[in-house]
Assembly symmetry: C2
């Protein structure tokens, strides 16, 4: 498709967000955020590195790439409002496939009333999707990883390990009876924007999204807050359906599978009630999985209780818990 026509085909007919002063069609886009701060995040996914045509349809490539960015906005406590897309298109990709990538993004964008406001289209040898997502958050209500405090509850939303299990099924067990559930969780994760919005009344909360696995993200919160995160392996919420797989697989997927785009956070016991109400209101499962402690020699790291002993939870998770 000729570039001009292509851009026309992806240009919104109207903008959902009143903050969009100028969308696609000039040298740049213009946004007017009056009383709120602007959040900005950018991620890149490359064919054969971050996804394969074997496991991901063009629609889901677009959907997941945008979901990953929206999840970062949620992890900052914000609402996603707009996005820019730069795409590198190899010759062997058809117009239909490229349109499908955009349809996947647009479907998810519609859920959150987000607008496509710009980007770039270039040719190249590997399909590469770079997405910038813009969000809004009330002043001084951003949720940083550094905001954990001693005595906080550590919690996660949803269940962990589903996305990694879905990828496993796509690659090795296509006849699994749980195919649809886990593959959907892998291909169409739903960022926790609604829950985060409902949490606006909470004074303080550390937050991170589960993109690499909670082993990694728990360590990130511990490091940023200069405290110790203790997690009880037996409290980590997992789908019952995961019991059909081996203990080793479950550990691996739940701790370091990643891409669940759930949230891990910490909050004071006093505010837990507000969080539970927000969770109920938005139909979001939340589970207490640990505690924030202050132990000079261990601050900055995460630990896990498993098989009757505490072990250091390395960022990579898995290898240190097996056997």
């Amino acid at each position: 498709m000729e570039e001009f026509k292509f851009i026309q085909s992806i240009t919104p007919k109207y903008y959902r967000q009143p903050s969009i002063v100028k969308g696609i069609g000039d040298d740049a886009a213009i946004i007017r955020h009056q009383q709120v701060d602007t959040i900005m995040t950018m991620d890149t996914m490359v064919e054969s590195v971050h996804f394969s045509e074997k496991t991901t349809t063009p629609y889901h490539i677009g959907y997941r790439a945008l979901a990953a960015n929206i999840s970062d906005i949620a992890a900052m406590g914000g609402t996603a409002t707009a996005y820019l897309v730069s795409i590198v298109i190899p010759e062997r990709w058809t117009d239909d496939q490229i349109q499908e990538i955009y349809r996947g993004m647009m479907a998810l964008a519609q859920t959150f009333h987000m607008d496509l406001i710009g980007g770039d289209t270039v040719s190249g040898t590997a399909l590469t999707l770079s997405i910038t997502v813009i969000g809004a958050v009330q002043k001084d209500k951003a949720r940083y990883r550094s905001q954990a405090k001693k005595g906080d509850v550590v919690f996660v939303t949803g269940t962990l390990g589903d996305s990694a299990c879905g990828l496993h099924i796509l690659l090795q067990e296509k006849d699994s009876e749980h195919y649809q559930y886990f593959v959907d969780r892998h291909q169409q994760p739903m960022p926790r924007i609604a829950f985060v919005e409902a949490c606006q009344g909470i004074k303080r909360m550390a937050l991170n999204d589960v993109s690499d696995g909670i082993a990694n993200e728990a360590n990130e919160i511990a490091a940023a807050s200069k405290l110790l995160l203790e997690i009880d392996y037996n409290k980590i919420p997992m789908q019952d359906k995961l019991n059909d797989f081996s203990e080793q697989q479950r550990i691996n997927w739940a701790l370091s599978g990643g891409e669940d785009f759930e949230l891990i956070g910490t909050i004071s016991e006093e505010e837990w009630d507000i969080l539970e109400k927000a969770a109920k209101h938005t139909n979001t499962p939340v589970t207490k999985i640990g505690t924030v402690k202050d132990r000079t020699s261990k601050n900055g790291t995460a630990w896990i209780y498993h098989d009757n002993q505490y072990k250091r939870l390395e960022k990579s998770g898995y290898t240190h818990l097996k056997g």
Copy 2:
């Protein structure tokens, strides 16, 4: 280099812009623009498509990629404040080369007091640089392509064709006596931010940056404003040094060479004085090259006067003026 160390190496020690609430190091960056609108633009450059190691050092790859984005902010009438960088790194690129790309960006960013606030680093087979630049502009002071009016003067900044000539010299005439001047103009273009800032007092101005060649950008202004842009070829400012090259080369480079990152704009005769003062104040050459007209049958297109006749100036420029 390990990713964490790499990110540390590019993380600013402090942020120059007071609007940066949170830079690199959490799930996303946060910006607080109080009384101004936020401009956003995103561009991608791919190895072998947009640049070649033959003509561009890693330093200049970074510099030019960022310059192209800053130029888009200038063309909206704004000031560039921050940027996010996603880079796809093939194995054969060394750490030093990657650091050089960032050094090129950082040198230019320093000129404009811009901060690096985020991005992504992934592996892949072709070096790909996606940059998102954020800018600020006073409310309702954005300069759109659609703001040309009948009777306006058409002007450009600087001289045109230099960058294309520089590329030609790098590829075919490395012994040219003008090597340094033109190659510098190709490798280190300077976006016209200072000039645009000095123009804030101007009530109305249509603006576009010369990234593809003025043949293209004049047509974009004509189309967006639904008017006719008439340009006099003999008034187009060109370096005297360009006279050492053929007429055909000059036409080609000046009209459709592109990447000069100069500005083409239109402004009323009444405000021309203010523009001239801004130009003088910022040491920016400006030249009147044409007029905006209202001719129902030709509106939306650009025309050029050359060799005693008016011809339609196609977006591609060159081919229609030769011979």
